[in-house]
Subunit: 130 residues, 2 copies
Amino acid sequence: MSDQVMTIREMCDAFDVTPRTLRFYESKELLFPIRDGQKRLFTRRDRGRLKLILRGKRFGFSLEDIRQVLDLYDLGDRERTQMTRALELARDRLAEMRRQRDDLDTMIAELNEQIIEGEKALAEKNRTAA
Amino acid sequence: MSDQVMTIREMCDAFDVTPRTLRFYESKELLFPIRDGQKRLFTRRDRGRLKLILRGKRFGFSLEDIRQVLDLYDLGDRERTQMTRALELARDRLAEMRRQRDDLDTMIAELNEQIIEGEKALAEKNRTAA
DNA sequence: CGTTACGGTGACGTGCACGTCAACTTCCCT
DNA sequence: AGGGAAGTTGACGTGCACGTCACCGTAACG
């Protein structure tokens, strides 16, 4: 049953982050561990959120950006206006992510091209040097 | 002929960055504007590099990371060992970018799913409220 | 009952990527 | 010759995302 909730150390080992990071994310309202006295206990929900946070960070999203999106993932009982607003935000993010993917595809193609060129140049260098 | 080289202001307008940014990039050896006396003049090469820099930044790459890759784009006459090293680095970057694209695809799919769910919930809310 | 381990809370420090501001040149215009 | 616009070099300031350190609580172990 202890994998229902995890201690801070278990979290750190599982996600390769420091305690400081988890506490920092809590202070920024990205995670909401429950408390056993003073001690934090991270739930399944926290683990899901952390996974998304770490993914988001790999694309240069700020923690604030990520928080906005995360909120979409548990809009339970919100005001219509709040929900509408959140959806608009999410659609914007989605559009941006699609643009990013296009850019990323371009970068991958270009870098790949450059690597091939580089390999050619290297092969030539080795040939003439031999 | 003046679009062979551009002033700092023309660059700023063209790429939507500040002079400070361009000077900063030069100090980090990401750009190499030529000089007319004191004044910087940015060449076509600088423009190409800046474009790549700005794209790289959108994915959370550090300027140092970007510099390493940029160097690959003009490896003219380098030592074999240097070239080999640069190619290795580029292949690593390429692999990471492919991983990032996979992650990004996952995130796009998941966010899209959440948006659909959100839209459903919102529609339901509107129905029951009516 | 001491101490070792794990966890907590401030508070200050750090690296990155610039922003901001002061104090010059340099060129152009009238 | 005077004045403004654009550019330059320091040097210090800033926001973000944590790192680090000092100090405190407490649960467990020998």
